[in-house]
Amino acid sequence: MSALPVERPHGAPAPQEPVLEIRNLSVDYGYDEPTHVLRQVSLTLHRGEVLGLAGESGCGKSTLAYAATRLLPPPGLITGGQVLFTDRDGTQRDVLALSDADLRASRWQDLAIVFQGAMNSLNPVHRIGRQIADAITAHRPGATKKEALEKAAELLDLVGINPDRARDFPHQLSGGMRQRVMIAMALALDPQVLIMDEPTTALDVVMQRQIVEQIADLRERLGFSVVFITHDVSLLIEIADRIAIMYAGEIVEDAAAQDVYRRPRHPYADGLLHSFPPLRGPRRELGGIPGSPPDMSRLPSGCPFRDRCAHAFDACAALQPELGPSAVAGDDPRRRVACHLHTPELVERAGFTPQPLPPSLSRT
């Protein structure tokens, strides 16, 4: 794969119906004086697409994924919102409204998570075949242990691991193999949505490439939709159809991958994309973003990014930006940006002077 991303024509028509809709999800950390780590986040995953979720460490991307299926460890607390899952036959259910028993029954079948294949993600005392199979026996009461283990062997084969290794223990596998086992485990019940939490972060570049290709191959075969969480935006540009960028617990830009790459509309996205050098092409001065991510327990008023933004103005301190359409004519109408530079009427109504879009944010 070339290092210079190209506009890839997608084989399938642009995906339309949503399969997973997160609406206004709010999450707190801590029960006494809680930190609001997610503030009314909305995100939609369409059937058949790869949605990349990017951001710095601590911005809340993993929190978003885990909260969507109520897997947040204590002291996490979900304080509002809905997570609507649309089944293949069109029925919709709110994951957050399910009872504990129903949620347990539906887990892994509709939505599965591929955890980071670290040493600790696999139970050290069970063989890996068994760990894949127990998901099957838990949800399909009719399946015998033998059948489940056979399916596990098939899955291992699917991800490129010799099925004979099903009797191995986790400590006998390399990092790359453990990651593949996590993927195989996630596919055990043929889910419709796969959430991948930093699947390549702990791996070397060569292994990263292999895993990514494996995922692409599996997607073609099995047709699931993917939410791909990572801090590596450059990776997303290659594999994702759409990218959502998070900052301080909010989504600040949500657009098609190529749009985000070539034509970012949010100052943070712009800064992020100019923070890594291209492998080829003319040498370019590295940008970077001054300052550091905010302390979530002490967020500034208004826009959380304004302290580090080169284009901040007075409205930014007073009003909180919301996700809305971009102000650049000719942009894809489905694009979303959370920035006051794109909402001049709102700014004016609030009594501030709207600022024009700088050229870096209005490229075409």
């Binding site: 609406r23 206004n24 709010s26 029960y31 006494d32 009314q40 909305s42 885990y66 909260a67 109520r70 897997l71 947040l72 460890p73 204590p74 002291p75 996490g76 607390l77 979900i78 304080t79 509002g80 919102g81 957050l96 504990d100 949620l103 919301e322």
Partner: protein, 330 residues
């Protein structure tokens, strides 16, 4: 004691359990109710140990005509078969118990520090040898060894007992400290200091020791606990001379004079309660240290209370959902 064994063994390396630094750290420790209660009880007994001879109402050896009487206004804890005042015996016994326990604790902890840190720092054969040594002492049953040694000594009073206890009890601390030193040694700041040419002993004193304080404290408390039990046991069996008063000695006489069968419950209840109280205080202090070292333990109690107040039932694997956020955005 098994509890203390486990918790210090599995606490994460000091660096991982980064408690807030500096002043805030001390504050956190102070706020721990368990540790404070434990310290309070222990302080009470220390005070008694110090002022014992002045506040004891009677001379413990003094006989009277009130033979085997239950607690009354004259004798708050009753009397023995010879009319001696049990409370005076208990009060005076405190000093000997605590003194020997603390001396044993210091000695054992000191040896443990020396052996443990050396083994962890030096590595290689020195480590293997010292580890083997501490493991041997760890496995050999301690009380029988103490009994054998003390039993063969011509006289086993006071500080000799403390030394014997220390000889048998240093190994646990050594092992824990060795493990910690081993992992600390690989840390960057130690390597940096070594690269700078810092002398070994200064390195240990300045860089490694401060990170081990919690472990050392826990080990010390554990050893003191063990020492209290051991010497009381020794007195109870009659190995240590029965002229110095000690809670175990009181129990020895109670047993010898068939206090049970005579229904003289006060004779053995009160010393027993004192032993239990000291034991509890030390355990509480250790809990406090545990929670300080292992932050995962710290939050559980606190969280549970808060959740119950809000009516949320905590359940692993199911994040609670409450709809309290501001109105949803349009």
């Amino acid at each position: 004691m098994a509890a203390e064994l486990i918790s210090t063994e599995n606490a994460p390396v000091a660096g991982e359990a980064t408690a807030p630094s500096g002043g805030k750290r001390r504050f956190l420790w102070m706020r721990n109710a368990k540790a404070l209660t434990g310290l309070g009880i222990l302080a009470f007994f220390v005070v008694i140990a110090v002022i014992g001879p002045w506040i004891a109402p009677y001379d413990p050896d003094e006989r009277s005509s009130d033979l085997l009487k239950p607690p009354s206004w004259e004798h708050w804890m009753g009397t023995t078969h010879l009319g001696q005042d049990v409370m005076s015996q208990v009060i005076l016994g405190t000093r000997s118990v605590l003194l020997i326990a603390f001396v044993a604790g210091f000695l054992a902890t000191f040896v443990g520090i020396v052996v443990g840190i050396t083994a962890g720092y030096v590595g290689g054969f020195g480590d293997e040898g010292l580890s083997a040594l501490s493991n041997v002492f760890l496995v050999i049953p301690q009380l029988p060894l103490i009994i054998i040694i003390a039993g063969m000594l011509p006289s086993a009073g006071g500080l000799t007992v403390a030394v014997v206890i220390a000889i048998t009890g240093w190994a646990w601390g050594a092992r824990v400290l060795r493990a910690q030193t081993l992992s600390l040694r690989k840390r960057d700041f130690v390597e940096a200091a070594r690269a700078n040419g810092e002398k070994t002993w200064r390195l240990i004193l300045a860089e490694i020791l401060p990170n081990l304080t919690a472990m050392i404290a826990a080990g010390f408390v554990g050893t003191v606990s063990f020492a209290v039990l051991s010497q009381i046991t020794l007195s109870f069996i009659g190995i240590t001379p029965t002229d110095t008063w000690n809670w175990g000695t009181v129990l020895y006489w109670a047993q010898a004079q068939l206090a049970l069968q005579r229904g003289a419950w006060w004779w053995y209840m009160f010393p027993g309660l004192c032993i239990a109280l000291v034991g509890i205080s030390l355990t509480l202090i250790n809990f406090g240290i545990d929670e300080f070292v292992n932050p995962r333990l710290r939050s559980t109690g606190l969280n549970a209370r808060l959740l119950r107040r809000r009516g949320i039932r905590p359940r692993i694997g199911f994040t609670p959902v409450v709809h309290e956020a501001k109105e949803d955005r349009a």
